[in-house]
Structure formats: structure tokens, C-alpha cells
């Protein structure tokens, strides 16, 4: 009987090994030759919305920054390095689209030693604690060099789209297929600003098409676990941090009913500032969509931040 089981396992192992080979070849072939419409579970978009490619390529020019900004698009569209520079602060913005704590962990592991910030301003939008992190993972895989951290993240997310894109990403990295790629500084309404910021000017939010239903954020435990690990890492390296919730349109903010719960939870992790309702921002004047400040809003927010956060004033 044992022989039969060993024969079965042997056949199975051969089948699995060949399947793994076919899988890799197939994914590479799909990525290279198939039209996007057929690549449902492979999403490799170099130079995607958010200028992450330009941001990570710029990191080598930075070290020993005063302030490092982390977080979602609220961070890279909310903290303008030029404003902080006027106050003598050297900053870098490491935000990325829909960045959840799981991706923040990857970016910290990759770049914290290089940037050696004195202070981290960690933008915490409740929505990123309710996401699975797939969208942001695909953005990072497509726009940054992949390494063991990518594999770690993929295993944590455990999503077929992430695995497929990661395999294709490694293939492109290994064969330097992206070496001639240059990302445009200006893309439609967006302009990339040195230091990781993305500026969008002269656009105004026209309001929701229909009234948003009120709902609770459904937070994910694994995002809070990763968040805790990120803060522990900062603490271990003696880097001080503040947690900041950047302003969003009041309509969107009020459409979630457990904001207070989130605020209270954040306060347990350290110094936390929620700027929603703190500034005199008008949805239609200071935002270009429901989530993001336009440049006028950014200037107001960053000035207010500099005044409100004693830790920034000291410098």
C-alpha cells in the first residue's frame, strides 16, 4: 500500500511542479502579449495614477529627512513639501494610492533606513483600515523594484491577482524591461512635485450625484495588526510619530457613522489629530473630489498643520 501512496505522491509532485512551470510561463506570456481585457487577474500598470514610480525613483536623492509622510492619496495629495520647506523642514512624501498599513509596512522596511526621518507624519484614513490592500499592492508591485518584501506582502494578502502581478513584476525586473521607462511629470490634471507630492490645481468638487447612504466602516483586523507593527518599528528606531487624519469633504466624512470609534482607537496608539471639521474648508471650494483637497485646500491645511502641531513648530 505504501508504494501506491508514494507513487501517488510522486505523480502529484510531478504534476504540481509542471503546473508551477506552466503557471509562470503562462503569466509572463499573458502579461506580454494578451490584451488587458483578457488579463482579468493580472494588473501591471507602470506609471499609474499617483506617480508612485517617480516618487520611489526619487528616494535615492533623499536621506536624513526631517519629516516623512506616510499614507494614502490623502497624504501624497495633502502634504506639499514646498510649504514645509518654507519653514525650514526637509520632507519626503511616501504616500501611495489606497496605501493600507500592510503596504506602509513594506515601504518602511524598504526605505526607512535610507530616509532616517526625525519625525513621521502618518496619515490615517479610516477607509484604508477597511480595505484588503490589493489595489495598493498592485500599484507598488508595478512601480517599485520587487524584492523579498513583495513576496511577504503577497503572502499576507493572499490574493490571486497579487500573486499573478508579482510574478510578472519580478520577470520585468529581472530582465530590466522597464529600464527605459520615463514617467510624465504632468498627467492630465496632475503635476508631480519633487518630494513626493502630486498637485492638482483649479478643479472644484461638484458634489455627489446622489446622497450617500450612511454606513459603518468595516475595519479589518489584519490592517490594525500591520499598523501596530509599523508603529512598533518606528518606536524601535526611536523615530517619533504623529497620527493625522487629513480632511475630506464633510459629506463623505458624515456618511460614516463610526468616526468617533476610529478616533478613540487611534488615540490609543499615540498623538492623534483629526482635522475634519477643524478647518474652515468648504467642500465645493477646497476639494476637487470627495476625497482630495485641491491646491487651495492643501495650502490651508498645511499652514494649519504647521501651526497646530507643536512637534513641527519646534523645528
Amino acid at each position: 500500500m505504501k508504494n501506491r501512496i508514494i507513487f501517488f505522491l510522486g505523480s502529484l509532485m510531478k504534476f504540481i511542479a509542471f503546473t508551477a512551470f506552466v503557471y509562470v510561463v503562462f503569466i509572463i506570456g499573458f502579461g506580454l502579449f494578451m490584451p488587458k481585457v483578457l488579463s482579468k487577474n493580472l494588473s501591471y500598470k507602470r506609471g499609474s495614477n499617483g506617480h508612485l514610480f517617480s516618487r520611489v525613483n526619487e528616494i535615492n536623492e533623499y536621506k536624513n529627512v526631517d519629516v516623512l509622510f506616510l499614507g494614502s492619496s490623502h497624504a501624497y495629495r495633502g502634504f506639499d513639501p514646498r510649504i514645509f520647506q518654507k519653514h525650514g523642514l526637509k520632507t519626503f512624501n511616501l504616500g501611495s494610492s489606497a496605501q493600507t498599513p500592510i503596504q506602509t509596512e513594506l515601504l518602511l522596511n524598504r526605505y526607512l533606513d535610507k530616509l532616517k526621518p526625525k519625525l513621521v507624519v502618518y496619515e490615517v484614513y479610516p477607509g484604508t483600515f477597511a480595505l484588503d490592500g490589493v489595489e495598493s499592492a498592485l500599484d507598488i508591485i508595478s512601480n517599485d523594484e520587487n524584492d523579498s518584501e513583495t513576496i511577504k506582502m503577497a503572502l499576507e494578502l493572499n490574493n490571486i491577482k497579487v500573486y499573478n502581478t508579482m510574478i510578472y513584476g519580478f520577470f520585468r525586473d529581472i530582465f530590466h524591461l522597464n529600464k527605459n521607462y520615463k514617467e510624465k511629470i504632468v498627467k492630465k490634471y496632475d503635476t508631480y512635485v519633487k518630494g513626493g507630492f502630486v498637485e492638482r490645481n483649479s478643479l472644484y468638487f461638484k458634489g455627489f450625484k446622489s446622497l450617500k447612504n450612511k454606513s459603518d466602516w468595516e475595519f479589518k483586523v489584519e490592517q490594525f495588526d500591520a499598523f501596530k507593527r509599523n508603529l512598533d518599528k518606528l518606536k524601535a528606531m526611536n523615530i517619533s510619530y504623529v497620527l493625522v487624519q487629513a480632511p475630506i469633504t464633510s459629506q463623505l466624512y458624515k456618511s460614516h457613522t463610526n468616526n468617533e470609534y476610529f478616533d478613540n482607537k487611534m488615540k490609543t496608539y499615540g498623538k492623534y489629530y483629526n482635522f475634519n471639521g477643524k478647518l474652515n474648508l468648504v467642500d465645493s471650494l477646497h476639494f476637487y473630489d470627495e476625497h482630495h483637497l485641491n491646491q487651495k485646500g492643501v495650502e490651508l491645511f498645511d499652514d494649519f498643520l504647521l501651526k497646530e502641531l507643536p512637534v513641527l513648530n519646534k523645528k
Binding site: T19, V22, F26, F30, S39, N158, I160
Partner: protein, 481 residues
């Protein structure tokens, strides 16, 4: 631990290797391993409910023995009813208490009496309906002297909690599964390969067919007011394939997994959407539950012995209970009653056993009559699924009202469905394979068995479809029951 998760595909080989290489010396070790693995598997959801499962096992084990030792009928009856009341009581508290409390409060408020019943904030323990029915079938069989009580606790516990069937069936019978657990098992290469093949097909059904259809169905069911009648028909069709792919896919993985351990579980699906009438549909859909209700409810109620009226009454009762078994919501009850109405003509005119064999046996194509019968039965089923899927009766009625509006005769809005064409091609592929394999236990059991190369190419097509076309992961629908 979901069947379609990486965790399961780490867990399964570990248990398999331990089972055939470490504990294979003695049956008691093998069963012990299955029990520990099953408890671990269950605890991965919520370890607190493991105690409830253990209690349920212990209760039925003890009452079973006590019934066997009873010196007289009243004593046997006492232990029997103790088990029934406690089992049904647990199910009632966890699954139905809030439903009854809220329904009563609503009824009283309708006649002007304002009441404030306590509702429980409890999570429904996963699989409670399934393992409770396992236990119930066991004690009922002992009570009616169909089986002897099981003395070996481990064997009995494995019968109830065997991990492939623990959370969503098939609902096993002691007469079928216990003898297999008590018998020494030898590794059978063909059975194991067959198991893997069934797992592969189950995975395809779940992650490619069901999860993609779920995404489309959700779009229409969540905002029916925004879509035309024809789009909502499309939504109902997608749900029809979602629920079949989801539940039969789960059952395929369960049956395939059990085969790797030398155990054959009851078949749960037999190509129900190829049925020519509703009676045939119910012999092919969730077979282990339908037969459970037939054996433990329909027959004890008198079955069809008392003439037409008795048959009609008993049929209504089992469909009502079956609907209610699915969940504490009026939608499931209406779904059950609707199916009872569908089946009624064949019960009254005694034609319910007309189609016992699979359609077009030995032929490639069905006759025109068979084809039209299949189409008609399928249409009835799709309509009934609207109640099953809707959040409430009023939501279901709104959905149906919108279907039967002028917009039914417009083109469906497929612009909102990303990859619509791909999913339709997948469904055509899926239906074709199911049709070709309908005379087997599962569709790909013997597919292309004459040519190894074609067979393996087919496996790779399925594997690559799983890799590249998997939909956004959705929880198995039947876990909530």
C-alpha cells in the same frame, strides 16, 4: 478555514501525510487524527463555537447510548426527546430566536401593542444546521431501531465532525458513514486521483463560475431600481449560476477531499439544472437535505400513504421546513412554499416520478420536448431564486415588479458588467462540460478518459482559468445556514 484558501491547501497535505504515513498502523489512530484535524479546522473559524460542537456531539453520543440501554419505551422516549429538544433548542436560539422575537414584535405592533423583545447579538455558529441534522438523524435512527448506538466515542465524533462535511454538508447518515469510519481503510490510487479531480472541478465552479457570477448578481440585486427589467432577469440568471457553482462546488471539494482519506460521502448534486420537472430538480439539488427531510419528516408524517390530501399536506410541510432550515427570513419560507406550489401538480397527478433517469441518457442532444421541459423548469427555478437572494419579501417583490415592466423588452444594461463577454463564454463552457459529463458522478469524472494528453490539456485549461479568471473571493453561501 475556507476550502478555497491557501491555508486549506497547507492543512490538507499535512493531514493526508500524517493519515497515511504516521497513523496508518491502527484505525483508532487514524480516526483520532481525523477528529483532532476536524476540531482544528472548525476552531479556525471561531474556537469558542468548538465547545458548542463538542457539546452537541457529547449529547447525542450519550443519549444514543442511553436509548440503547433503556429498559422500557418511556425511558427510551425520554432520552430521545431530550436530545431532540436540546438540539433543536440550540438551533432555535442561535438561528431563529431573533427572527421570532422580531416577527412577534412586528405582529403585535400591527395590532397596536408596542413591545420591546430582547434580541440576541449572537453570531451564527458556522455549520450548526448541518451538524445538528447529523446528530438528529443518528438519534432518530436509534429510536426507530434502524441502527445500534455507537459505543466508540471517537468514531461517533468523527461521524459528526469529519472536516470535509462539517460546515456545509453533505448531511450524512450514520447508516452510510459510520460503517466506513469503523472499517479499516486502504489507500486506493484511483479513488485518490478521482478525489483530486473532483476537488479541481469544485474549485473551478466556486472561484471562477460562482465568484464571477456573484459580482454581477450583486450589482443588480443591490440596486434593482436603477436597472431595466431585462437587466434584472440577467441578475437572477447570474445568481442562479452563482448558487449552483458555489454550493455544488463546495460539495465537490468536500467529496473529493473525503476520497483522499478513503471515505465516500453522499452525493449532494446531480446536475439539477438539467431537470425536466421540479420533482426531478429536488431529487438532484442538495440531495442529502432533500432525502433527510423525506426520511425524517415526510415519511413519519405519513408520507403518501393517506392519499392525495395527505401527500399535498406533507409536501407543503417539508418545503416550508426546508425553506426555514435555510435561514431565519421570510424570503426563505416563501422560496420553500413557491417550490411546493411548483411541485404540487406532479404530486396531485402522480407524475412526480416520471423522470427518474438523467435526461437524454446515451444521447448527445435532448429531444425538443426534453429541451423545452428543461428550459421551463429552469425558468421556474430562476424565478424562485429571486426570493432566496433578496434581502426581504418586499425587496423580492420590487425586483419582480421591475422585471415585469415595459423595460423587460429593452436590451439589458451590460455596460456595468466588466468582463461580461468573458463570463458568458465561461458559462457556456461550464454548461457544455456539465452536459457532457451528466451521466457521471461529477462532470469531469470521466472526461476525455481515452486520451491522456487531451485529458491533461483539459486540466490545464481549468487550472489556468482558475489562475487568470478567478472572481473576487466570496464566502460560501451555505456557510450562513
Amino acid at each position: 478555514m475556507l476550502f478555497n484558501s491557501i491555508n486549506f491547501f497547507i492543512f490538507l497535505p499535512i493531514v493526508f501525510l500524517l493519515y497515511w504515513f504516521v497513523t496508518n498502523k491502527k484505525l483508532v489512530f487514524q480516526n483520532g487524527l481525523l477528529l483532532v484535524s476536524s476540531f482544528f479546522f472548525y476552531a479556525c473559524w471561531d474556537w469558542r463555537f468548538l465547545f458548542l460542537l463538542m457539546f452537541s456531539i457529547l449529547l447525542d453520543y450519550i443519549t444514543g447510548i442511553k436509548m440503547g440501554e433503556a429498559k422500557n419505551k418511556p425511558e427510551k422516549k425520554f432520552w430521545f426527546w431530550l436530545s431532540i429538544i436540546v438540539n433543536v433548542g440550540f438551533l432555535g436560539v442561535f438561528k431563529y430566536y431573533n427572527f421570532f422575537a422580531e416577527s412577534l414584535a412586528e405582529s403585535l405592533s400591527a395590532i397596536g401593542l408596542q413591545t420591546n423583545f430582547w434580541t440576541l447579538k449572537v453570531i451564527l455558529p458556522v455549520g450548526i444546521s448541518f451538524y445538528t441534522f447529523h446528530g438528529l438523524s443518528y438519534v432518530i435512527d436509534i429510536y426507530y431501531d434502524k441502527i445500534k448506538p455507537e459505543k466508540n466515542f471517537i468514531d461517533y465524533a468523527v461521524f459528526v465532525s469529519f472536516f470535509p462535511l462539517l460546515v456545509a454538508g453533505p448531511i450524512e447518515r450514520a447508516t452510510h458513514l459510520l460503517p466506513q469510519i469503523k472499517k479499516e481503510r486502504k489507500f486506493d490510487y484511483d479513488q485518490a486521483v478521482n478525489g483530486l479531480r473532483q476537488i479541481l472541478w469544485g474549485l473551478f465552479k466556486k472561484v471562477v463560475i460562482a465568484d464571477n457570477c456573484a459580482h454581477f448578481a450583486n450589482i443588480f440585486f443591490e440596486n434593482p431600481a436603477q436597472y431595466s427589467g431585462s437587466s434584472l432577469v440577467l441578475g437572477a440568471l447570474f445568481f442562479t449560476f452563482q448558487i449552483y457553482g458555489d454550493f455544488s462546488g463546495y460539495s465537490d471539494i468536500a467529496l473529493g477531499t473525503a476520497r483522499l482519506f478513503g471515505i465516500d460521502l453522499l452525493r449532494n448534486f446531480a446536475f439539477p439544472y438539467f431537470s425536466r420537472d421540479i420533482a426531478e430538480f429536488w431529487r438532484r439539488w442538495h440531495i442529502s437535505l432533500s432525502s433527510w427531510f423525506k426520511d425524517y419528516l415526510y415519511i413519519p408524517l405519513g408520507g403518501s400513504k393517506g392519499g392525495t390530501w395527505m401527500r399535498v399536506r406533507n409536501t407543503f410541510i417539508i418545503f416550508l421546513v426546508s425553506g426555514f432550515w435555510h435561514g431565519a427570513n421570510w424570503t426563505f419560507i416563501v422560496w420553500g412554499l413557491l417550490n411546493a406550489l411548483y411541485i404540487m401538480p406532479s404530486i396531485i397527478f402522480n407524475t412526480h416520478r416520471n423522470n427518474m433517469e438523467i435526461v437524454a441518457k446515451g444521447r448527445v442532444f435532448p429531444s425538443v420536448k426534453e429541451f423545452l421541459s428543461i428550459l421551463f423548469t429552469f425558468g421556474l427555478t430562476v424565478f424562485a431564486w429571486i426570493f432566496f437572494r433578496a434581502e426581504s419579501i418586499s425587496a423580492a417583490l420590487d425586483y419582480i415588479k421591475r422585471i415585469f415592466s415595459k423595460t423587460l423588452f429593452t436590451l439589458p444594461n451590460i455596460k456595468v458588467l466588466a468582463d461580461f463577454e468573458i463570463i458568458v463564454c465561461l458559462l457556456i463552457f461550464f454548461i457544455s462540460i456539465e452536459w457532457l459529463g451528466r451521466e457521471n458522478r461529477y462532470a469531469i469524472e470521466k472526461i476525455f478518459s481515452k486520451s491522456k494528453w487531451i485529458r491533461y490539456s483539459f486540466y490545464y485549461i481549468i487550472i489556468l482559468a482558475i489562475i487568470i479568471l478567478t472572481g473576487k473571493s466570496q464566502e460560501f453561501i451555505y456557510f450562513q445556514f
